[in-house]
Symmetry: C2
Subunit: 191 residues, 2 copies
């Protein structure tokens, strides 16, 4: 039997957080988002999106970084066009300060069968033309990084035990991240 | 980015199912089970258990094999002592017929902090002496196998879409298997 893959995590205190200009969402409502998705599907076919799981540690327990818009909606940082988008969302404007994003393991793939909010962790039977395929990747952080958070967003640091079994607050995709990360061994490095 | 790991799945019809003598559970109730766990912990420390996810396909959708005791309780085949136990649970009594179990990827690790039924997909903070660590492994089946099901158990073939979001029926461990398998690409081989 193979041993668990290892992920190094560093204390939250070893990271620095600043702010930068707001990054506006392209859509102001879920209905707008789904309508734009439909238009894009006609032009480009199935959307493939990539989101990032960034891990830190606090009190010897893994925490993930989530971006909050307003007071309710939480999402993982996107890595559409890979590192470019992650830099746009969380990197400093000065290239020298941009984190060295290390894209790691794919931990989950979700499918959107229709132009609706509901997604599944498999392509449902009889769906031949899914509208979106969203992949979640672990991003390995270096020991020190500077994150620049757009002024219209809040960066939350959420422990796995808060996400677990909390579909009401975080939705089906984010609330099952603890189960998907369970196979990893966290090497909690204190600095 | 690495591509998804591939799992070959074969149609349910390519497998043969027979029966064999009952394999009785060592405990007749959950309370008995937890009491025996406590005794064993005193003697041997944290229990490490291993369970198997066996996949087949039906109608182009992955299904997992579950063993049912009575009419409600479902569990994954155990692989305590690895292949030995899997053979005891599902292998024919004749050694020539025993499936060639190929233990694959670890897909989840669950922790039992106390002598209670509740488990978590991480070791909860402040728990220094967890009582059990249960690992779920994918088992890669060959194209044809003969399974011998103990007469007191039923072997169920459950599609991922039935498990998903069905914690009421399958419990937290089995109901999130679809999310843990989502990162794999299923190569549905028709024979």
């Amino acid at each position: 039997m193979v041993s668990s893959p290892v992920v190094n995590t560093y204390p939250l205190s070893s990271y620095t957080f600043g702010t930068k200009e707001p990054k506006m969402e392209k859509d102001t409502s879920v209905a707008d988002r789904l309508a734009r998705m439909k238009v894009n599907y006609m032009k480009e076919g199935m959307r493939t999106s990539v989101e990032a799981i960034l891990l830190v540690q606090e009190h010897n327990h893994p925490h993930i970084l989530l971006l909050q818009i307003g007071n309710t909606f939480c999402k993982l940082p996107e890595i559409e066009g890979l590192k470019r988008k992650l830099t746009s969302k969380l990197g400093a404007n000065s290239p020298a300060l941009v984190p060295d994003w290390q894209i790691g393991e794919c931990v989950a793939i979700w499918w959107r069968p229709n132009f609706e909010t509901i997604m599944y962790p498999y392509c449902p039977p009889h769906i031949t033309k899914p509208k979106e395929c969203k992949k979640l990747f672990l991003v390995h952080l270096s020991e020190r990084e500077y994150f620049a958070v757009p002024k219209n967003l809040k960066l939350l640091v959420v422990p796995l035990f808060e996400l677990y079994d909390n579909v009401q607050r975080y939705g089906p995709v984010i609330s099952t991240i603890p189960q998907q990360l369970s196979r990893f061994r966290f090497n909690m490095i204190s600095t």
